[in-house]
Point group: C2
Amino acid sequence: MRDVAVIGIGMTQFGELWGKSIKDIFVEAATKAIKNAGVDHIDSMYVGSMSSGLFVGQEHLGAILADYLGQTPIPSTRVESACASGGAAFRAAYFEVASGASDIVLAGGVEKMTDGADVTEALATAADQEYEVYQGVTFPGLYAMIANAHMNQYGTTREQLAAISVKNHRNGANNPNAQFRSPVTLEQVMNSTLVADPLRLLDCSPVSDGGAAVILCSMDVAKKFTDTIIKVKGTAQASDTIALHSRKSLTTLNSVVTAAHKAYKMAGVTPKDINFAEVHDCFTIAEAVVYEDLGFCEKGCGGPAAEEGRTAIDGKTPLNTSGGLKSKGHPVGATGIAQIIELYEQLTGQAGKRQVKNAHIGLAQNMGGSGASCVINILEAK
Amino acid sequence: MRDVAVIGIGMTQFGELWGKSIKDIFVEAATKAIKNAGVDHIDSMYVGSMSSGLFVGQEHLGAILADYLGQTPIPSTRVESACASGGAAFRAAYFEVASGASDIVLAGGVEKMTDGADVTEALATAADQEYEVYQGVTFPGLYAMIANAHMNQYGTTREQLAAISVKNHRNGANNPNAQFRSPVTLEQVMNSTLVADPLRLLDCSPVSDGGAAVILCSMDVAKKFTDTIIKVKGTAQASDTIALHSRKSLTTLNSVVTAAHKAYKMAGVTPKDINFAEVHDCFTIAEAVVYEDLGFCEKGCGGPAAEEGRTAIDGKTPLNTSGGLKSKGHPVGATGIAQIIELYEQLTGQAGKRQVKNAHIGLAQNMGGSGASCVINILEAK
């Protein structure tokens, strides 16, 4: 396999972008990425989107976005793995470059969720329709079950979950592209509206519109365009049973454990070598569980780690310096690519007030459903 | 890039499979393919599906199908390019194997269209929602415009289009997996219900349920499992403007011309070297136009070629020996993979009454929308 680099990034503001269509959003992000990379063309493109059919009545997103981006006749394909669609699009682009078939490939993600669709119903199509959704459970309920099990098994507290939200809002306040740039207090989280016990409104990532894109390039070709080159050091993906009730444990996400193991092996690193990570905090409990399953600590320490500041920007393993899904926003198909963008900004020293010191190796963990899909990418500053 | 082979195939009956869910259908096809290949595991899988969200309310198809196939925790991703989703899934699997990241990858496709969804509305999401569908046009209307333009420009006749339907039904009658196994006469096509002038019911591919899967493998690993090895000699994909009104010509599909040029170049062949082809006859006119745009003849000869028998099984360039989308059925996400299956059966001499003599090199052309996406794969008997 050829070495692959990320050489350019672009994203829109995340938020309620009522004045922009899904096409406007994607084109803005992709144009920024192409300009940022300084490339004179792209060979191919992939678009991660979870449910453009249900959200805005538009499938065939690869073709329509290549068209509106002015890139026909290049190949353009949509990739879907629910909320891990962006991560999966990144991997598809990676394989195309790594194989030698193409030199420069755009990997993007987009979702337009605020156009009037029934968002909870659309998102629920990432769970098992027959055995979960038809019985009345949607994602807040599924993650609430994980949270309750984690509390019972490891003594995780309500305050610890709230600490994750507080940290991510603090980080997001310094991210100009974040949907929510207001810090929140522990009390505000603890007293926010109950959504699915024990999860409250400020434990939940929001409904968002947004787009993100990065340019992948073979390492040797990358040098022609830019000196700002970030290497893709490891990439892995894994699946798990789609229904929560089919799993042996509610408190370990097997797809995360499996993908992490493979990504670390490919990258030749251990969790100790990871300087910071973007993880899939669709709900606060998810960040706690994923932190453990990535091997940053023993099982059960996800809550205490946040409470004690170990996952803060100046902590041992900074998590979600971008603000995470919680504060930055979660336009589901774009999230996996936005994580890569935060890695790129950190690894190139462009993260401003969010900058992690000595950021050499970063990890992005993107997840679909209640963990039935997980994509992990490890990037390294050259 | 490593050489890649197809080493196993499996598909379901195409038709109205009311007793089977989308999961049942995919699992049946994938299980057959794994068994047919004789492999002891698969490293990864891709699923082409156009609109499982709108058709059956289930996204996250990669994960749920890996789960029901008993293949967790392998990576599993859905790929979507409207009716070219199967072809795009095949290419994604191809890149993963060609890169060296995986040795054995399943590429499948599935669609469950008869479960009560508004099929015409769901299919129309492959066109431009804002500028085509909201104005009232759906795919029969779009292809009718292509047909009218082709008739005006090249003198293509109603009878010539009907001859395509007659040929494909004749072929499909000998395909045990085809939805329609009844030959039709020229008169029956000419007198069938008018759908969108000049296209009649028997010019249109049907609404279908079905699944198909193939196993891709690196050439060196393939030899461990089977002697029945078909090489992927060329693969290419291209895009075009999604809206028909944005094109310079209605009678040439640029995505087909571009993808064909690239695929021939990669394979080191010319149209003359292609012994037979499966092409995307969603409507009879599509087969005529694609036949021309693949370079099998000059523009305008697509109609006469069918009428004069040049595209029959014993003709110079047999087209759609499987029965094509018209007779075999068109479960949209599965179609691109089913085309590869017909190539495999022909190239390995397993096509029975449909067998093309001296079938050494075959081409599959899969298309999305009114040609905004096109995937072409060229396979060769080793």
